[in-house]
């Protein structure tokens, strides 16, 4: 039990934050929001997966990936391919010139299912692929980069280019990928209607539970020696290397893990929203995931979730009424968070709770005359 408490929840503060978040998404949102809004929140929460992955990779590991959209996309497309195949049964697609293949393939004069689509007929394969393909992809990039000690801005740029390549490829290869429109009209999972209100609510809760599980797993990593090594590497990479560690392996592992959780987010995105398209893969979504993490506080797993929720609520609210203002605001947010709030919401919260405690201390000191002398030096000390 104490292992759970320290390792997974991160002690008292961690537990409070975790329970608050769990209450908010599992109790408050479902009670307060209608089905449409709740589905919207489900979508936002799927973005929190890559945001959390960036807290690990960037906040703690010091390695900024501008390509988390790649993995989010791979997960999302994996799920979409399975659902699309189910939606394209010969009965459903009888009017096509080649029945039994996805509609966009038919429109693009394909007459048979491409080989790499075949295995996605199996749900088990799909689930495994969602977890494994992104990790293997990250492993390949990671080995190539980290073993050669490429990091920092070079890693950021290369991952950005890879996400651009993937987007251009998806958009360009319409017949195989659905092109710019993505993979749409996903209806059933094993014959079960995924567009019903019940299904949407269920996906919301599954997303919540997966998200909480991912937070606990990440906490476990961060509280282990691995977590301290991550911080140590960010600070003095050479010292870690000359303490007998193969630094690259640690970076590769955390990159693969971050890819895997991003992919889980992507898969849940497809289920919750009912389609997947290249606009969630490329440069812009990838960098938006960074800003979710930055606004939440790059060192706070839970902050990343709040960062996601806040920005996406803001985006929805503003882009409905003032679309022009939103881009200015978003741009300003990037600048402000870097220049004035490098620790994001989590940092603000810490400062703020610190101030409240201080003020409380000061007020109590006013009222309890006996202790005034004892409290005053303590106040100075806490500055």
């Amino acid at each position: 039990m104490s292992f759970m408490y320290e390792k997974l929840l991160g002690g008292k503060n961690g537990t409070v934050g975790f329970v608050l978040l769990a209450t908010l998404i599992l109790v408050v949102f479902p009670l307060a929001l209608d089905g449409f809004r709740l589905n919207l929140v489900a979508k936002y929460l799927t973005y929190a997966f890559p945001a959390i992955s960036l807290v690990l990779l960037w906040g703690y590991g010091g390695t900024l990936s501008l390509g988390q959209g790649i993995f989010f996309g791979l997960g999302g497309y994996g799920m979409a391919m399975f659902l699309k195949l189910e939606a394209s049964s010969p009965e459903n697609t009888a009017i096509q010139s080649t029945p039994g293949i996805p509609d966009f393939m038919d429109w693009n004069q394909l007459t048979a299912l491409p080989w790499f689509w075949e295995p996605f007929n199996s749900f088990t394969f799909t689930l495994l692929a969602i977890l494994i393909i992104p990790s293997v992809f990250a492993y390949l990039i990671g080995v190539a980069m980290f073993k050669r000690r490429v990091g920092g801005v070079y890693f950021a740029i290369i991952t950005q280019v890879v996400s651009l390549i993937l987007t251009v490829l998806i958009v360009g290869q319409q017949g195989y990928t659905g092109g710019i429109n993505g993979i749409t009209d996903l209806r059933t999972l094993h014959g079960w209607d995924i567009t019903s209100d019940f299904a949407k609510n269920l996906f919301y809760f599954i997303t919540c539970f997966l998200l909480l599980a991912v937070i606990l797993m990440s906490r476990f990593i961060l509280t282990s020696k691995f977590g301290r090594l991550l911080l140590a590497m960010r600070d003095k990479e050479d010292r870690v290397r000359f303490s007998g560690y193969d630094v690259a392996n640690f970076k590769i592992f955390i990159f693969c893990f971050s890819a895997m959780i991003s992919a889980i987010g992507g898969a849940m995105f497809t289920l919750s929203v009912g389609f997947m398209s290249p606009s969630f893969v490329g440069i812009v979504p990838s960098i938006e995931m960074v800003i979710f993490a930055a606004v939440g506080g790059r060192l706070s797993l839970i902050g990343a979730v709040y960062g996601c929720l806040l920005i996406n609520f803001g985006k929805t609210a503003f882009s409905e009424s003032f679309p022009e203002l939103w881009l200015f605001l978003m741009g300003g947010l990037f600048i402000a968070v870097v220049m004035f709030f490098p620790n994001g919401l989590a940092g603000l919260w810490e400062d703020h709770s610190h101030h409240i405690k201080k003020r409380l201390g000061f007020i109590t000191s006013l009222f309890s005359k006996n202790d005034t002398a004892a409290v005053a030096p303590k106040l100075e000390g806490s500055n």
Partner: protein
């Protein structure tokens, strides 16, 4: 390539090669600015494309004003526009350095995010001012038309002009960075900031002017860009990744590498485009670059130094 005769192939290579030269010119001008900012200062400027757009819009504004009020001046306005594009973009860059960049020199990844924010703001500003539609300045007559050495090859004059302009600017940058005393100060500052300050170089001023210069060259790239394509609010973003690849591939600190890398990337892209679709040409070019960089991360022309 089976369906072409060898003389046809030659013509295709020549024409696509010349088409590639326009792309080369824009990429090189963009990359020169970025190589100065990234290679010399270590700053990742994600808004670099928007500084290019600033130059392009300046050219457009000047052409509109000239056309309306001084139509007789039309043949010459473009030369003025190039200079104006430089100074507008440089002034914006100067401002950005002062307001933003100088606070972030020690945090390169944060500069990346902040300049991304800046690029969003600039894009939206262009959209609010000039509208979402793409605009093109009216080009002077002498930039129209083409030169035909054989009846199969057709070389547009604007491409030749842009190439000449690019070579001129490249020469200027070379002189400035490697032959002038100012260039010496810039290189000294980047190699050892503290020491440079100690020997009396005003490093803050050097930083600001270097950044402004880089942005100014992007502005000239924008003016050049208007001769080959029209300008929209997001024009800059289309080129920023390619430009970064040019700089990284060339070896960040090497101007010679930048030129070679801009040339090979532009030519590969342009010649491939004739045989496969534009998007696949881009995929192949970028993928090749990424693979090469994975095996040679320091770029093509990085010198071996003691670290």
């Amino acid at each position: 390539m089976g369906g072409y005769t060898s003389s046809e192939l030659m013509a295709i290579f020549a024409m696509q090669g010349f088409a590639g030269i326009s792309l080369f010119s824009v990429l090189l001008l963009m990359a020169l600015g970025l190589a100065i900012i990234f290679g010399q200062m270590g700053v990742i400027n994600m808004a670099h494309g928007e500084f290019m757009a600033a130059g392009a819009y300046t050219t457009y504004l000047l052409s509109t004003v000239t056309e309306t009020y001084f139509p007789g001046f039309m043949p010459y306005y473009f030369l003025v526009a190039i200079v104006a594009a430089f100074f507008v973009a440089a002034a914006l860059g100067y401002l950005a350095e002062w307001a933003l960049i100088r606070h972030l020199y020690k945090r390169p990844l944060d500069t990346l995010l902040a300049t991304w924010g800046l690029s969003l703001i600039m894009q939206q500003a262009y959209r609010s001012i000039f509208g979402a539609r793409e605009v093109s300045p009216a080009l002077p007559d002498w930039l129209m038309g083409s030169y035909q050495p054989t009846d199969m090859i057709d070389i547009p004059l604007n491409g030749m002009f842009v190439l000449a302009l690019t070579l001129l600017i490249t020469g200027g940058v070379f002189y400035l960075m490697f032959k002038s005393s100012w260039g010496l100060k810039v290189r000294a500052t980047t190699q050892n900031r503290v020491m440079s300050g100690a020997v009396g170089i005003n490093t803050k001023k050097v930083d600001r002017l270097t950044f402004a210069l880089g942005c100014g060259i992007a502005g000239v790239a924008g003016a050049a860009f208007t001769t080959i394509a029209s300008t929209g609010p997001t024009t800059g973003t289309l080129y920023i990744v390619d430009t970064f690849m040019v700089v990284v591939f060339g070896g960040a600190a090497s101007l010679l590498g930048t030129i070679a890398s801009a040339f090979s990337i532009a030519q590969a892209q342009s010649i491939l485009e004739f045989f496969i679709s534009g998007s696949m040409a881009k995929v192949f070019t970028l993928l090749t670059l990424v693979v090469i960089l994975m095996f040679k991360p320091e770029g093509l022309f990085a010198s071996k130094v003691r670290r």
